[in-house]
Symmetry: C2
Subunit: 145 residues, 2 copies
DNA sequence: TTTCGTGCAAATGGTTTGCAGACGC
DNA sequence: GCGTCTGCAAACCATTTGCACGAAA
């Protein structure tokens, strides 16, 4: 599949793809590297980065940011449109599906003549269970004070 | 206004606020620092960063990312809901207004019980004039070949 | 005077890059 | 064998932090 674009199917590249496939969810480069070293101890972090960029350019992988901290990049196999919500209390990442973003894109494309090629959309807050627990805690405090 | 929260109104803090107000659009920390040094040559970049974080925590300033490169943070005075679109050809940043994001938030809050506290939304692509020029260029190429 | 802020310089940490050797094709 | 890839280690660079001094309240 890659060879058609003049790229070499090296074991390192296949390994990175394999790991992303097996895990099935977003991983950061270091995590991919650590997992990869189980199979190829000489795998270097630089190669993981280079491979991820290459796979991204070829639309096999997409790079994402989570939550407010955009210092670290995450990667996942490209799949149908979706976004991410990170709970700032328990850290859970929830996959979000909504047609509103695409709707916004189409409306803005029509209104302003924009052509969209890429977007970074990520949400942060409290998941339902954390939100409940916080409300309970606050309720008690309010009651006491 | 800040003093009410137990914070000191130092000249450096006022200066950073002043610059953001005067410029009226997003700036990165280094840019703020450079402008600030015209008024206070001893101003340090570290103080600019510390001030921006403090202002952000107090909801006077909001931190943003633009385009695909999230290595650099930008800051602007907090104002009504809006998002940004960056043209990847001319670099222009266009301010976007759409109710769809808020709509998505509300729908997701109701459906999944999520509580939203923060989001990073930014778009990238071609502005209308760049999109036209690209189409022309491609048209010519197609014509020639 | 006491605490909070600042400037300086060094540290941080994820990501990128130069280079020489290794390997896919 | 040629041209691409890789591993290594060093470089990058925006941002953060430790520390001693300076200045608000």
């Amino acid at each position: 599949m890659l060879r058609q674009r003049g790229l070499r199917a090296t074991p390192q590249r296949l390994l990175v793809l394999q790991i992303l496939e097996d895990v099935g969810e977003h991983l950061d480069a270091e995590n991919i590297w650590l997992r990869g070293k189980d199979y190829d101890p000489s795998l270097s972090l630089a190669t993981v980065y280079r491979t991820l960029h290459l796979l991204e350019e070829n639309d096999l992988v997409s790079q994402r940011y989570f939550s407010r901290d955009h210092k670290k990049e995450y990667y996942e196999l490209q799949k149908e449109e979706h976004y991410h919500f990170t709970c700032q209390r328990c850290g859970k990442v929830i996959e979000i599906h909504t047609p509103r973003i695409e709707q916004a894109r189409q409306e803005l494309a029509k209104e302003l003549g924009l052509v969209f090629t890429h977007a970074c959309i990520c949400f942060e807050g409290y998941c339902s269970s954390c939100a409940q627990e916080i409300q309970h805690t606050q309720g008690e405090h309010t009651h006491v004070s």
